[in-house]
């Protein structure tokens, strides 16, 4: 879907951090992406590579930490695991399940190269 916009969002976050913390090279960008988020990872990977060109993160790896989807089943009144927004409750079969976790799209951490000290 809008993976180019997401990649540009990641670039903004990386460049803000580079200015704030003074690193000049990013080896890897670690993302947290929920199973219920609207991100297509392979499409994002393609856009990531394009968008990071000419930045401190050019050539950086994009690593993804998946987050499992969870929902609140109203009949069971408890949290259950779901893989899709339209999944039924695995216990009672009801579709009265509201997504509560796994919708995240976050930049979690950066593996950065710090400048050689004293040079």
């Amino acid at each position: 879907m809008h993976e180019m916009s997401l990649a540009e969002g990641i670039r903004g976050i990386v460049e803000d951090a580079a200015i704030a913390q003074g690193f000049t090279k990013v080896n890897a960008v670690v993302l947290e992406v929920g199973a219920l988020s609207s991100v297509e990872i392979e499409a994002l990977r393609f856009c990531f590579e394009v968008v990071m060109k000419g930045t401190v993160a050019e050539g950086a790896r994009m690593e993804v930490d998946p987050i499992a989807g969870t929902g609140w089943c109203m009949p069971c009144a408890k949290s259950v695991a779901i893989d899709q927004l339209y999944d039924p409750c695995p216990h009672c079969g009801s579709y009265q399940v509201q997504a509560t976790g796994g919708t995240e799209m976050r930049v979690k951490a950066l593996d950065v190269q710090t400048a050689p000290a004293g040079v």
Binding site: M1, D16, C47, L85, Y86, E104, T114
Partner: protein, 310 residues
């Protein structure tokens, strides 16, 4: 340009292309770095003890470089914890829009659907009925042309067209630029017609009170399952073109059931923008939203910084 959905940047036009329009800068070629201040949202400590993978608040430090220490002339890897939402920048603009609207008691709806679901006709019908009771303004989003804004203006309501160029959705910064240009009345209704696209607009908060998804009976009843993100993001679904049901093999109950599977809290109205059938419920829902927005706002005209980052 995005090869996935055609999304691109640099061709956004807000308003008529007659000199007053503003072209969005092209972030794909000239990304402007946000202020350092925003990058300091998270606490960050420089840790001097270089234990392997030592973790401290806001900063994980791995002393795993070639020298296992900071030594002159040797570079070092470091893990910096960021923890920022990818769409955080859009969400900040959306919050500013929401504050600006609340300060004026304006009830804003973001209408989303596939192309051809009848959004513009539905808006025209809604304005036609409501405009004697409340001021209505419209922001129109399309990749190209001013056609929809012209249709809205024909009803007498003010409309501003945003052309997204290659973009596949409106974002909060575009809407933030449009808001002050519409001369909106306090305690009024603002309808934002998003780009016809059942995928991308779901992720972009514009600062609206609710997303309203429109599904027409000339589409498939399984659309809510095929495109679940949009139905999950919306609070209201309008099942439109119900006057055509006698001529179609479309199971309306099934469509509603599928939508509720994705989002059990979805409020559903079955309407026909052509005949006005089912509009009572939809209009009553808008009126209750208008009353809540007018009651909640103190009309203090808070001048939030709208789209300051553009």
């Amino acid at each position: 340009m995005c090869t996935v959905c055609g999304c691109g940047a640099g061709e956004v036009m807000i308003g008529r292309p007659n000199g007053t329009a503003q072209r969005k800068s092209a972030p794909t070629t000239g990304w402007k770095v946000a202020s350092v201040e925003t990058a300091h949202d998270d606490s960050h400590e420089h840790v001097e003890v270089h234990t392997p993978a030592s973790e401290h608040a806001g900063h994980m430090h791995f002393g795993h470089g070639p020298a296992h220490a900071h030594a002159p002339g040797l570079s070092q890897h470091e893990m910096v914890r960021i923890e920022k939402d990818i769409l955080g920048k859009n969400d900040r603009f959306a919050d500013a829009n929401r504050g600006w609207l609340a300060g004026r008691g304006i009830f804003a709806l973001n209408l989303v659907s596939s192309p051809g679901s009848g959004k513009t006709t539905l808006l025209c019908k809604t304005i036609e009925i409501l405009s004697s009771r409340v001021a209505v303004a419209v922001i129109e989003g399309d990749q190209q042309t001013e056609f929809d804004a012209e249709r809205i203006r024909a009803t007498g309501a003010p409309a501003l067209q945003i052309n997204t160029g290659k973009g596949c959705h409106l974002d909060a910064a575009m809407v933030g630029q449009a808001l002050p240009r519409l001369a909106l009345t306090d305690n009024s209704l603002l309808l934002i017609e998003n780009v016809g696209n059942l995928v991308c607009p779901s992720a972009f908060d514009l600062g609206e009170a609710h997303k309203v998804v429109i599904l027409s009976v000339t589409e498939g009843e399984d659309k809510p399952l095929k495109y679940p993100d949009m139905f999950a993001a919306a609070d209201v679904m309008l099942l439109n073109k119900t006057d055509l049901l006698p001529y179609l093999r479309f199971d309306a109950d099934k469509a509603v059931e599928f939508a509720l599977r994705v989002n059990p809290r979805l409020k559903v109205f079955r309407v026909s923008a052509t005949t006005g059938e089912g509009f009572d419920g939809w209009l009553a829902w808008i009126e209750s939203g208008l009353a809540a927005a007018a009651g909640g706002g103190e009309n203090d005209h808070k001048e939030n910084t709208l789209a300051a980052g553009y």
